[in-house]
């Protein structure tokens, strides 16, 4: 029996149910005739609807919109907002997602009137500052990646991957080479195979070796002249750096292939190593991970793509150029794969990212990588006594544990994740990467302080003890959340995607 259900000897509940903890939907709050706003009297002559519209296009019933007051609406959303878990609340160690704190300074800068009130259709001469921002951000990213040019257009990491693979395809077409395959290790980000497939390639998977890295002999065997590219996540989803990257690049290039780097984990080595120097031909970055722009419901993503010389002609249009006439938009790109996003990408995210880069400076950015790696390794050290570490290779910015030591008592990764909510933490990524059975993928990011890490380790170690001494406690978690354990299989098999009015509920 959970704490919430405990009753005293008199039959009275210690924790009476509070209606707003399980708030009704706005539709359920609706009362006929209730209003949030009263419109002023109409100042012009009114015409009857019948005179304005033929019967065939007139609604016979209303759309069923809720009729609620202002306070109903405000309370509804405030109640929902109190269920949020955000990086502003506590550690959010969702591996691979890099849920780091978003500095308030970025928010100040993006709200400057020149940025906030400009329109993408304004004459270029009136938005030179905005174009300079594109140009400056591109220069910064060129410097950090060691590549030749950058498109800021892609609206998310996955779109960046897709754009990167379309450019690979365009470059190979230009060479007159119709290659069929893309190689992707099992430790890559999950979106890579989809990006390659959407660009028209067949995906071949490469298995990691016992160190969690790519096996060079496997690569040598798989890398033929039919292979367009290798898509490598660096460091990979195990948090392991591909320490043979130069040899990997050599093998791929020796067969005329291109090396794609998924740079979503760039925060692990930014300012330390440049992908261009590692032999990478094309790389996407996630501004919403490495460069602290908000994401995960807090804001849209942004996934710029950087390329080496060979791929520059194929970059999406437009690019921003700097010349004697100031900053201009370059649409005259005959080999370009075309436009990939309306206007110029997620402008607000580009402003925030540049604010962060300039605010941190070169040395500050290198410090990000150091702290991201230090924090992940501090957690690794703190947890390796309690949880199984499937790969003992040194890890960078994230670390993957499993539930192997807990399964003997019947406690699984899912149970551990649910129990962690009772300790006030967002659970880590679970059951990913898929090449690790029962994976718990933890990424604290560089914005966690030692005290945050210590309390997370303490919580995880307590759960390991509970798993041994009281497994049913962990299996029954969570107890303190607005809803208890959900039936995830039922939700996926028979999803209820919309509210139905009560009288139609049975239909």
């Amino acid at each position: 029996m959970s704490e919430q259900e405990t009753s005293s000897a008199t039959g009275h509940s210690q924790r009476p149910a509070i209606a707003w903890r399980n708030p009704p939907l706005l539709f359920e709050l609706s009362r006929e005739g209730r209003l949030g706003v009263e419109l002023p009297p109409v100042g012009v002559a009114e015409s009857a609807l019948e005179e304005l519209l033929p019967e065939s296009v007139r609604r016979t019933d209303l759309a069923g919109l809720p009729e609620v007051s202002e306070v109903d609406v405000i309370r509804h959303f405030i109640r929902l907002s109190r269920r949020n878990y955000t990086p502003e609340l506590s550690l959010y160690p969702l591996g691979s997602c890099t849920m780091k704190y978003n500095p308030r300074l970025n928010e100040e800068v993006v709200r400057l009137p020149g940025f906030a009130n400009s329109h993408p259709l304004q004459p270029i001469s009136t938005v030179q500052g905005n174009l300079e921002l594109f140009w400056a951000l591109e220069q910064a990213l060129i410097q950090l990646t060691g590549l030749s040019r950058v498109s800021l257009s892609p609206a998310a990491g996955a779109q960046g991957e897709f754009v990167g693979m379309l450019m690979v395809r365009a470059a190979l077409d230009k060479r007159g080479e119709g290659r069929r395959y893309v190689l992707i290790p099992d430790s890559a980000h999950g979106t890579n195979p989809a990006s390659a497939a959407f660009a028209g390639y067949q995906v071949k998977e490469l298995l990691s070796n016992e160190h969690g890295t790519l096996d060079l002999e496997d690569l040598e065997r798989a890398m033929t002249e039919e292979v367009a590219a290798l898509m490598l996540t660096v460091p990979n989803t195990l948090g392991v750096f591909e320490d043979q990257i130069l040899e990997i690049a050599r093998i791929v290039h020796s067969k005329g292939g291109l090396l794609y780097c998924d740079g979503a984990n760039f925060n692990a080595f930014i300012g330390k190593v440049r992908p261009g120097d590692m032999g990478v031909d094309v790389l996407h970055m996630n501004l919403h991970k490495t460069f602290t722009t908000p994401h995960g419901g807090g804001g849209p993503g942004s996934g710029p793509v950087a390329v080496g010389e060979e791929l520059v002609p194929f970059l999406p249009a437009p690019l921003v150029n700097s010349g004697a006439d100031g900053f201009t938009l370059d649409f005259d790109r005959p080999d370009s794969i075309g436009r990939v996003r309306s206007f110029h990408g997620q402008f607000g995210m580009l402003v925030r990212a540049l604010a962060y880069i300039v605010g941190m400076g070169g040395e500050g950015l290198a410090k990000i990588a150091e702290n991201a790696v230090l924090n992940a390794n501090y957690l690794r050290k703190g947890l390796e006594g309690s949880y199984h570490l499937p790969y003992t290779t040194p890890t960078l910015h994230e670390v993957v544990f499993t539930d192997k030591r807990q399964t003997a008592s019947g406690v699984t990764t899912l149970d551990i994740a649910k129990r962690l909510m009772d300790y006030g933490f967002h659970p880590p990524t679970i059951y990913f990467p898929i090449n690790v059975s029962g994976a718990l993928m933890i990424e604290p990011t560089e914005t966690a302080a030692k005290e945050d890490l210590d309390s997370f380790v303490e919580a995880m170690c307590s759960i390991a003890i509970e798993a041994e001494e009281a497994p049913e406690l962990v299996q029954g978690a969570p107890y303190t959340t607005p809803v208890r354990r959900c039936d995830e299989a039922l939700a996926a098999r028979k999803p209820v995607l919309r509210w139905h009015p009560p009288e139609a509920a049975d239909s």
Binding site: I430, Y431, A489, A492, R493
Partner: protein, 128 residues
């Protein structure tokens, strides 16, 4: 559990050869690793595949797993009951949870597949 008349692959598919056709499904070990299956995507009848080609996918609450065919051939029937009710894959993977029937290619090579005993040994190794 692991029937002697079936053959097994390292990707955890089982194959039941009946003359020139075979029935293909995933093993109990595989469904257990996947957890509750929520979505099954199968190939179309009439599609032809080489051995080790990806032919569909199985989505569970934990992950999406690719489905491979260890046998070269043409799809002659698919199990729509599993598509409608993926739970069958968890409850009865070796019988009612079958996925596709294939007409085996004349030159198909099944020698790389495992017997039930070999497969049991193989998964004991995977579990450790």
């Amino acid at each position: 559990m692991y029937l002697d008349e079936y053959l097994y692959s390292k990707e955890h598919e089982w194959v039941h050869v009946e003359g020139e056709t075979c029935v293909l499904g995933v093993t109990d070990f595989a469904q257990h690793q996947l957890g509750d299956v929520v979505f099954v995507e199968l190939p179309e009848v009439g599609q032809t595949f080489e051995a080790d080609d990806e032919i569909g996918s199985i989505e569970s609450v934990k992950a999406v797993a690719e489905l491979y065919t260890p046998v070269a051939g043409e799809v002659v029937e698919t199990n729509e009951a599993v598509v409608d009710d993926p739970e069958v894959l968890n409850s009865d993977p070796h019988n009612n949870g079958w996925l596709i029937k294939m007409k085996i290619d004349a030159g198909a090579d099944l020698s790389g597949l495992m017997s039930a005993d070999q497969y049991k040994e193989f998964i004991d190794g995977e579990d450790a």
